[in-house]
Structure formats: C-alpha cells, structure tokens
C-alpha cells in the first residue's frame, strides 16, 4: 500500500484491524502521540488530504493513495510554521504531549471565529495548562521573553526582565514586574560578575524544548525504534478478591511469536511498594510483582511477552485461570469491622509496616494538642460537618510506559515514564537482588505526571521480562489501564468540628479522616499524614484533635495525586471555616486573617511540628488574602467578572478558601547536579530531575545562567538519568526548583568561582578582578574566552574548589573534558507556600448548572523565577481543581469494576469548561529557595474545591458536601425538598 507522509512517499502493509496512528508510528512517525485511543483526546490528530482526523480511530487500510500530514510536516525547529511559532511564543504547552495534536488541529483553524474555539477544540484535551496559554497562542499573544540577538556581544544578553509582560501587564496576568524589584535573596552568593547585568531569573524564559515540542521532534518515552523489541501484555483479574488456584499457560506459550509467559511462579518473592519515596520505609511492603492472591479487579494475573502486541493479546486469551473467589469489601467505613474480608492478613506488621493487617488498617494518627473538650466548652459558636471526596485519576496525557533492555555490559537499562528514575533504580536493585551499578534508569521527556509517576507501574514487570528473555521489551499502558488500575487519588471522608469565640478566634479544631487506600498501601500512610498537616497547622487553635485512619478495601489502589492528601482535607476544613464565618456573621477573608498562623506562631497539628519546617524568611498569606479579596470585590466593576445570567433560576455567590503547603517533602529530599564548561566553551547542566511539564528544565538553565552571567539559551542540559548525576530523589513534592535547583545553583556558583581562579593562575591578575560574561572572563582590556579557560583549567588550577551557598555545597575541578562543578542540596529545611482562591459563581436551580463568573488565585511562590511558567503551573492546578470538582469521577460498580474506563465517560475539562483564572503573586522572597523562590506546582490545586463549594453555599444557601459538584448533584442539593 502506498501513501505519503509529509510529502514523502511511503509504502507499508497495514494489518486488517490496524489504526492509522500505529501505522504511522510503525513507520517511525513518533510525532503522532497516543493519549486515549478512543478518539477523545486529539493527541494523535493528523491531516488526511488536508482534513483533520483522530488517527487512533481511523482505519489504516483507508490511507492508500492519500496524503498524511503530521505535526512534523508543518514545520521544523529551525523553520516553525506560524501556528507552531505562536505556540512557542505563547508558551502554549507544559508537558507538551498534547501539543502535536493541538498544533495540527490549530493549523486548520487559523480562520476560525475565536468564539467557536470551545466547540472546535473539544477534541483536544490538555491536562497541564488550563488552556489560557493555548487561547493566547490562537490569539497571537507572546508570553515568553524575546530571545537575545544571535550574535551577542559581551554586553547584556537578556532584555529587561519580563519584557513581554511589561508590555501587557494586566491585573491577574501573574506579571510581577509591577509588584516587585528584588535583588537577589540575601542567602545567595552573587556570581563572579561584579557589574549589574540583566538576570535570567525573573524573566519568562522560554522552555528549551519548545521548538522541538511544537514540531513533534521532542522524544517521549516510547518515541524510539528498537530492533528486536518484544511487547508485553498483562492479563488482568476479573475478580476483586480471589486466590488463583490453577494457572495453565501452556497453550499461550505454544503460540508462535510468544517469548515468555510470566506468572506468580516467576515473580520475585520480595514484597515491595509501588510507591516511591526517599525513604523506602515510608510505604508498606505489601505488593508482589505477580501475586497468587488477587485483591482488586484488574490486578495482574499473568504477563505475556511476544513479538507483537497482537500475538501477546492472543496468547493472553489462551491462558487458563481458575480462581477461588473470596468475599470482597468495597466500603472503607466497614473495613475495620469484624467479619470483613482481610486483604493482607498474615503479613508481618513490622516487616511490611502495616499498622494492623488483621483489621485492614494501613496507618493511623490519633493525637491531641491542648484539651479538645475544653476547647469546645470555651466556644461561643461551634460548627461541624462531614465531607466526602471522590476517586479521581491523574490522567497525564502520556500513559505509563517503559522499554527495557540489556546493554553491552549486561546492565539492565530502563527508559521509562517516571518522576523518580533514581528511586526506581534503587527499588529494582532490591527487587531483583542486583547492585545499583548494574541498573540504569532514565527518562526522555515525560508526558505529564501529577504524582501518578511517583510510582512503579511498568518498570518491575518490564525488568522481569527483560531478565527472563534477554531481549528488549516494551510495555505501554492503555488509557483504560490508567483509569481502572493505575492508582487514583485517595477518596476521603473528612469530618470537621470547629469551635470559636464570639469574636471569631478558634478555640477548638477537631478533624476525623477516613482514607480509602484500596487494595494496596502505596502512598497510603504518607497521603494520610500529609492530608492532616498543613491543612490543620495553617490555623492557630489552642486545642486540636486529629483522628485519621487509612484502610484497605478491595477497590482499585489509591496513590499519589497533586496535593498529596491536602486537597481532600482542605475541602473539609475550608468548608467548615466558611460555615463558621456564616455562624459568626463574619467575612470569610477576615476569619482567616484572624486565625491564620503567622511567622511568630508555632506550627501545630497534634503537637508542635519539628524545626525542619519554618517560614523561611517569607510569609505571604496576608498578601494573598488581600490580593484575592480585592480582585473579587472589584471584579464586577472592572469587567473581570462575567455578568450574572438573567432569570430567577440563577443565583450568584462568592466563595474563597486558603491553603498552605510545605515547599519540600519531609525527612530528606536530595539532589546532586553538575555543570560542565566543555572544551567547546559550552555549558552543560547535568541534573537528575525529570521534565514532565513542571518547567524545571527552564528554571535550572535560568539559575545557572544567572550565576554564570550568561543567557539561558546558551546552556544545555542533560537530565533524569542515573548515569548523568550520582543521585536525585526525584520530581515530586514540587521539589524541582527548590532542591535540584539549589544544587544547580551551587554548582554554577562554584564553577564561576573556579573560572576566576583559572584566570588568576593563567595571568596573575586576581580572580576578583575578572568579570564573567557570556563570552568568557574580562578584566580591563584583557579577555579570556570560555574555550581558553576550559582548555587551561587542568594545568592552571587543578585543585578542587569548594563553594558553599546556604543549603548547598559544590566542588569545582578541571578535568580532561573541561571544568565541572558538582553541587548538592539536601532539602532538609523546608519553607511554606500559600495559596488563596476566590470564586464568583452562578448556579441554576432548575438544571444544577454552575457557571464560574470569576476565578482568582493569589499565590505566595516567593521570588518568581519564571513568571509565565509559574502562572502556567497555577492555572493548570486551578484547571485540574475545577475539572475534578465539577466533572471528573471514577465510578465503580458493586463488584469493584471501574465503569468510567474511557475518557468520554471520565470527563476531563475541555477548553470550553475552563475559565480564565486571574493570577496574583505575593511579593515575598524566601530565605531557603534559590534566589528566594518557593515551590508552586501542587499547591494551586488545593483551595479550588472548597472555594467553589463556598461560593455555591453563598449563592444558594445550601452546602455541597460531596465531590464532584456535578450538575445532577447540585440539582438534587437545590431541590432536595421537592425531588423524588
């Protein structure tokens, strides 16, 4: 069969049931992505004879004689098409996985009426951005800082800070230029440069991969052709609780093309947890790679490895399995009752770190500060209620996937979609009893994470298959896998009671949490503890009580999700605070001001928190409250709030909620990063942090560029590879900027010092007399180029130079390949970031429809290293908050089967569903983070649900207590007295 792709004649023979998407990828057109394979997400969009289609549901045999255009055919990184250029200029992507399809679709809409974009883009889902930057791309708005001139002189190479924003500094655009003019945070040593120069930090530097992403050239996990690749298919359990009594794989093994069939008989007997943390003991060891006991519907039963996916699927259908089906429990409230099926009975509670396997208890926290009974006795006003959060899926557009092989040295190599390659390496070494140096784990660009990739979902089984067959093996999870077996957010039942004086001061705060961890305890304890941390310590109360339990059920496992438990409990506490404000007839902003913890207060949950968690010299909650309240109050008059719809069925209300978050996960988060000045005179950063839309790659280059007084665009980066740096805990807990970034900054600072020492050794002119710029060092009219410095380093100044910055240390030394500085940061001291969200909504009592008229978030991110990126993180977090609060819901039937197994039944917010959110930054600078930065990735999500709920309460007089606030639920809430 002949056809053309991007003008190139192509010949291929499609299989009878093949889709165009896989045919294109078979011919190495890896720019065509898979997001859903059901025609819903649009990541695979291509043009057929100029008409856009979803190639995943386009029969491949029909392409004969036709012309296909992919995103790669629209332009190249050196010659972007106008639409591609507009996505780069607008920063219209984060992870970039949806971008190929988004750009292809946009290329057909250049004449479209902007008002029709919601309809025209409903088949293009973006999980990262919240769509504002995509809307900007369509509108031709530039959000990134313009690039410096190509032939930069020794003068300033970067334009004035945030020039793009300065031109259009609208309120709520997140532009900090008007708000601040910081010098470097006091803790950060200035680089060798002594003249003031425009700094890269504080500007909206574009993502280094941008031009590759918008042209489909950036590689993701599976975008590579590997000869001899085997494919892995998993046979999954039809039962929620069962014991496998017979497993006959002979027919499957006999099928031609099958390389291996793996069952629990092949599994390592080592118990582990799919969840990954710096300390592996944070999570219970309750899981086997393949287990003869089934604990949730969809658990792995067996695995087939074969020459093609089709053969593996056919073989999996030939596996004969018999089960002893066991009673199952799906109700977390019943999990600890006598007679309820036990999921992990018999496991050693100490070895496995399960609080009580004989009552399905994974973890528990019971504690009291002060005297809670006295606190309520002292209260003039008390409020209480119970709030239920639901199951939601992270739904990164790139599904979990990995490819494994043995390299020439016999090392096990994994190319995987992970936020934590180093932690995966450590656990695989333990599982397969190999030394660390026999395993390499790396990632290409990762297509979104949101916590779900802080988890081993593919790497263990691929490793087993590679070790069994000796051949390269690929495992690609489907969207249905993501929605039915990949861990979801922990559903929680949260009961809150508050007591306060008539003046509004809290006297008592009581929180009871029941968390459903599902069939396995991955992230169960951590999420439970974290859920009851900053959510509670954000308010002062002399008396507090917390009772929290995480329990096993036969539901799909729960795991890490943006916010890591905080969102669920913040929903309850901020709703209760709203009830308290109503009971006190007090403004809800004012109630927060009155009770919010301040830098002079202790941080208390059930006791005063350890001194690793501090305010870090920055505190912006007060500013956030002011910014959000003011934006809300002035919304209607300024036109930033949409007008309320007409009709007596509509009621309008306002709501707000606050949230606090630690900038780094507790108990250690380590990063090592190096920067090398190569003999070619170019800088290269080596960092452990994976890039999955978090933007840390951009931030790392900005930090290094600022310390080295050069342009970020002149700095290369290699990352997320266990071969590249010694260690990095990983990209979770929003640590990419404040931990790994600090290591990069330390390394770059040390390198700058070392370059001065080299110059001094070469010339006798003191190191302090040299100024570093993008070309090299200059002193008066003397100039040493970077190339000269790199070449001279080894002989001129061979000694190791050690530089310390606050929280980080770096050693710089010349070597054969140039001068390298290795920086480390331990992340032991943690600061606090704040977010306040405010909403104005209209609610229709006849249909339950909710319209967001105004959405506002004020954030205390410390010094904002990249305003456009940070704004994007906030907008994306808010969009996820809106999507999960109004639309998304994993629904399970009575047998524990997830019925919302495809995206059309699990509704991710579309362009049409996502309002623009005004973003405001508090003017603070942290003492711990690089240049005063704080983390800002997970946090924006947390206050959104309660802000919406409080606005509904304000509009209608009725309080939603169960997520999501879907139209049918809101309609019932508002018609509870009349509905049958």
């Amino acid at each position: 069969m002949k056809f053309t792709v991007n003008g190139e004649p192509t010949e291929a023979t499609p299989r009878a049931g093949q889709a165009l998407r896989t045919l294109l990828r078979d011919t190495e057109h890896f720019e065509v992505k898979k997001g859903c394979d059901t025609g819903d997400c649009g990541a695979c969009s291509v043009l057929v004879d100029g008409e856009p289609v979803h190639s995943c549901v386009y029969p491949a045999h029909r392409i004969e004689g036709h012309d296909v255009t992919t995103v790669a055919g629209l332009g190249t990184p050196d010659a972007l098409s106008p639409v591609q250029q507009s996505f780069v200029d607008a920063a219209g992507f984060q992870c970039g996985f949806c971008t190929a399809g988004m750009v292809v679709t946009a290329s057909t809409l250049t004449e479209a009426d902007p008002a029709d974009l919601p309809r025209l883009l409903k088949g293009n889902l973006c999980r990262c951005t919240g769509y504002r930057s995509i809307r900007d791309a369509f509108a031709g708005i530039t959000n990134v800082t313009p690039r410096p001139c190509a032939a930069s002189s020794s003068g300033p190479v970067d334009p004035a800070a945030c020039a793009a924003h300065a031109a259009s500094a609208n309120p709520g655009s997140g532009c900090p230029t008007a708000a601040r003019s910081h010098a470097a945070a006091p803790t950060t040593a200035p680089p060798a440069a002594t003249t003031p120069a425009p700094r890269s930090v504080g500007t909206s530097e574009r993502a280094p991969a941008g031009a590759r992403i918008v042209t489909g050239r950036e590689e993701y996990t599976l975008d590579v052709a590997i000869p001899g690749l085997l494919h892995l298919v998993v046979l999954r359990s039809p039962h929620a609780h069962a014991r496998i009594t017979r497993l006959d794989t002979s027919a499957a093994e006999a099928l031609e093309g099958v390389a291996a069939v793996l069952t629990h008989r092949d599994s390592p007997s080592t118990l582990f947890s799919t969840a990954r943390h710096e300390n592996r003991t944070d999570d219970p060891d309750d899981t086997l790679v393949l287990d003869p006991v089934i604990r949730f519907r969809g658990q792995r039963v067996a695995v087939v490895v074969a020459e093609t996916v089709g053969i593996a699927e056919a073989a999996s259908r030939l596996i004969e399995v018999e089960y002893d089906v066991l009673p199952a429990n799906f109700d977390p409230a019943k999990a600890r009752q006598p007679g309820i099926p036990l999921l992990h009975s018999g496991k050693n509670p100490n070895d496995s770190r399960i609080a009580d396997p004989e009552t399905n208890l994974v973890a528990a926290l019971h504690g009291e500060y002060g005297d809670i009974a006295q606190g309520f006795a002292d209260a003039d006003v008390t409020v209480s209620g119970t709030w239920q959060s639901h199951r939601i899926a992270a739904t990164a557009l790139e599904t979990h996937a990995s490819i494994g092989w043995l390299d020439d040295d016999g090392r096990l190599v994994l190319r995987t979609s992970s936020q934590v390659p180093f932690l995966v390496q450590k656990e695989l070494a333990r599982l397969f009893d190999r030394s660390l140096d026999t395993i390499r784990v790396f990632t290409a660009r990762v297509g979104g994470g949101f916590g779900s990739k802080q988890e081993i979902q593919t790497e263990d089984i691929v490793s087993l298959a590679v070790l069994k067959t000796g051949r390269p093996v690929q495992y690609e999870m489907s969207r249905t896998d993501e929605l039915t077996v990949v861990p979801c957010r922990h559903p929680m039942r949260v009961s809150v009671s508050l007591g306060a004086t008539a003046a509004g001061l809290l006297t008592a705060m009581k929180v009871d949490v029941l968390s459903d961890t599902g069939a396995y305890g991955n992230h169960g304890p951590g999420v439970m503890y974290h859920s009851c941390s900053e959510s509670i310590s954000v308010y002062n109360s002399p008396n507090k009580r917390v009772d929290a339990e995480a329990v096993y059920t036969n539901n799909m496992p729960s795991g890490a999700f943006r916010g890591y438990g905080l969102g669920q409990v913040v929903f309850g506490i901020e709703s209760a605070m709203d009830d308290l404000a109503i009971a006190l007839d007090m403004n809800p902003f004012e109630l927060r001001r009155l009770n919010a913890v301040s830098p002079t207060d202790p941080l208390v949950v059930t006791h005063v928190e350890g001194d690793d968690l501090v305010f870090g010299g920055s505190y912006g909650l007060d500013q956030c409250l002011d910014l959000a309240q003011n934006a809300l109050a002035t919304g209607p008059e300024s036109g930033r709030s949409l007008p309320a719809p007409d009709g007596p069925e509509w009621s309008v209300g306002e709501g707000m909620a606050a949230a606090m978050i630690a900038t780094i996960p507790p108990r250690g988060h380590f990063a090592e990063a190096s920067i090398t000045l190569g003999l070619d005179g170019r800088y290269t950063i080596n960092a452990g942090t994976a890039e999955f839309g978090n933007g840390t790659t951009t931030v790392h280059t900005q930090l290094a560029a600022t310390a080295l007084n050069t342009s970020a665009s002149l700095i290369g980066i290699r990352q997320s590879d266990t071969d590249v740096v010694p260690y990095d805990t990983g990209a979770f807990g929003s640590a990419g900027t404040v931990v790994a970034g600090k290591a990069v900054l330390a390394a770059a600072t040390a390198l700058a010092v070392k370059l001065g020492e080299v110059a001094e050794a070469l010339t006798g002119i003191p190191a302090t007399a040299w100024q570093l710029n993008s070309e090299g060092l200059s002193s008066g009219d003397r100039m040493l180029t970077l190339t000269e410095l790199a070449a001279a380093g080894t002989e001129a100044a061979p000694a190791v130079t050690t530089v310390r910055i606050d929280g980080g240390v770096a050693n710089a030394a010349p070597a054969a390949r140039g001068i390298t500085a290795l920086g480390t940061h331990a992340g032991h001291r943690r600061s606090l970031a704040f977010n306040v969200h405010a909403m104005r909504v209209a609610v229709n009592s006849r249909t339950g429809e909710l319209r967001i008229l105004q959405s506002i978030q004020a954030a205390d991110a410390g010094f904002v290293i990249n305003p456009e990126q940070c704004r994007g993180q906030i907008e994306g977090g808010v969009a996820q908050g809106i999507s999960t609060s109004l639309y998304e819901e994993l629904i399970l039937d009575a047998e524990g089967t997830v019925t919302t197994s495809v995206l059309r039944n699990y509704h991710l917010a579309q362009f049409a569903d996502t309002p623009t959110t005004e973003v405001y930054f508090a003017d603070t600078a942290d003492g711990l983070g690089p240049f005063g930065a704080k983390s800002m990735s997970e946090a924006p999500f947390n206050p959104v649900a309660p802000a919406l709920a409080n606005a509904v309460r304000n509009a209608t007089g009725r309080r939603p207590r169960e997520l999501p606030f879907s139209r049918d639920r809101l309609w019932r809430l508002l018609n509870a007295d009349t509905a049958s």
């Binding site: 394979d37 819903d40 018609n975």
Partner: protein
C-alpha cells in the same frame, strides 16, 4: 461506550467460541483491533453476503476502532459502496447510512425547510469533535443505538424512516423510533445492513426547536430534546439521550405548559449513567421541553 458505532452490537454475542478462556478476558482499550484478520472492501450489495456474527460492517470506524472488538474477525467496508450521501427527493431527504456527520453538517437548506438548523445543532450534540465528524457516519450513529446518539435525536425528531437491507435480498422500512429498541440495542438481525434514512418533507418544513444539556457545557448529552411544530399546528416532542430510547409525545396543537410538563414527567424510560442521574434527566427534560414550547409558541 462509543458515540458512533458501525457494528450492529445487538447481533454479536459478548462471549463466543472460546468459552471460559474468553470469560477471563478483561477488555482493554489498546491500539489496534488485532483479532481482525480481513477487511473486505464492498463494491456491490453482493459483497454483503460475507456478513455474519463475527464479520460486521465498517462505516466511519471512529467508534469501532475506539473499543475492544476481540469477538470480531473481519469487516466489510461499506464506504467503498460510494452511496450518494444526501439525496433530495420530491417527498423529502434520503440520507445514506454512510453519509458522514461532516457532510450532513454542511448540507445547505432547501426552500421551505424550516427544520434545517436542527441538522447542524444535532451534529454539535455529538461528543466527538469536528475531526470525528469527518469520518463518523449517520448510519453508524443510529446503529450504535446509544441514548446520546445525536443522529438518532435528529432523525427520530423528524419522523425519519430507516431502510434496511436484509441478507435474502429483501428490504424493510420502519420509523427510527421503532428501529432503536433500547440502550445500545436495535431491530437489526444478523446480516442486515442499515442502508439509508428518509426524512419526510412534512417534517423538514416544520419549525423545530432544539435543546441539549450535559453535565458539562459541551459534554456527552444527558438530554437532547427536539420539538416540531408542523404547518398543521401539530406538535411533536422527541426526548432522547435522557431516555434509553427515543420517546415521542404528539399533540394536535401546542400543549400548555402544565400539560407538557406532566406528560414529560410521566415518561418512565429515564436512566442513570456517568452522564447524569435519571431523576436529573427527567427534571431537566421538563425544563428543556418547556423552553422549546415557549420558543415555538
């Protein structure tokens, strides 16, 4: 569940042939339809004899390729029959089953066709994007027989009549409202093919009011209602997406608000799924019916 379907799902047993092995299969939505071993490009009606329980018609393919089909072994591609998509006749419009949603959405109004805006409106009720319109077909949408199928909404509301080709060479016709028998079920028997849908001129010349609601602004329909006010004054309300199959209420003249509301409330085909609870669907159908009544009054 898909929005568009070209397999006549009611013909196909969910488990077939391989017995208990297959019973252990959990469907995964992944990539290609690897059990399909043959695609026959139909050139004439004679090619349809290949159809059986495991060899099914393929039209646009947008839904068939979006669901596991491990029970199937072959396709007969109907698109190569090259049926004229839309044919205006003296007594109305014939829509080929293989007419794409895109073709329907672009079809120009004919003189006197007051119902024409409903064509595009119903296309927008499809959950699939405008890119799906380029491949999905009207017939496939009907044969999927999903409650939210917007081509069901349109053709039922305009008193559409389907033409079915039977394997013995005969034909039969029936109203769309009889063709759809339930949530994803229809009247087709093994080997039968939906050939076309006829919309009568009388309905095309009626004024039509359209309303849709979903759990999100442009989401999969929870209720799609169309009201048709004919020149004679007769009024027909068609309720879809909220009910397991299309339901019609017919009146000699536009009813008053209380009558219409009571009649809608009295229907009992409401259902619950991820796109809305049954009680909500009933309530919003009452709201939308009233809006349509007011629009046409």
């Amino acid at each position: 569940m898909p929005d568009i379907f070209v397999v006549f799902t009611d013909q196909i047993p969910l488990s077939r042939g391989l017995g208990r092995r297959r019973a252990h299969r959990k469907g995964t939505c992944i990539m290609d339809l690897n059990t399909i071993t043959d695609v026959r490009l139909a050139r004439s009606r004679a090619d349809l004899v290949a159809l059986c329980t495991t060899v099914v018609p393929l039209a646009g393919g947008s839904a068939l390729f979006g669901e596991p089909q491990n029970h199937l072994e072959g396709f007969v591609d109907l698109m190569t029959l090259e049926w004229p998509a839309l044919t205006v006749t003296p007594d109305g419009l014939d829509i080929a089953a293989t007419c794409t949603i895109a073709e329907l959405s672009r079809f120009p109004a004919q003189p006197g066709w007051l119902a024409h805006p409903a064509f595009f409106q119903c296309c927008t009720a499809l959950f699939g994007s405008f890119k799906v319109w380029n491949v999905a077909t009207v017939g496939g949408n009907l044969c999927a027989s999903l409650p939210a199928g917007p081509m069901t909404s349109l053709t039922a509301a305009l008193d559409g009549e389907v033409l079915i080709w039977s394997p013995d060479g005969s034909e039969r016709r029936m109203p769309v409202t009889s063709f759809i028998t339930g949530n994803t079920t229809n009247i087709l028997t093994p080997g039968e093919v939906l050939r076309s849908i006829h919309l009568p001129l009388r309905a095309l010349e009626a004024r039509v009011g359209y309303r849709k609601i979903a759990l999100s602004p442009l989401g999969r329909s929870g209720a799609v209602l169309l009201g048709r006010l004919e020149r004679s004054g007769a009024f027909v309300l068609t309720v879809t997406a909220a009910t397991v199959k299309p339901v019609q209420l017919s009146y000699d003249a536009l009813p008053d608000a209380d009558t219409l509301r009571a009649d809608v409330e009295r229907l009992d085909e409401w259902f619950t799924d991820a796109h809305g609870a049954a009680d909500w669907r009933r309530a919003v159908s009452c709201v939308l019916a009233d809006e349509i009544r007011e629009e046409l009054a």
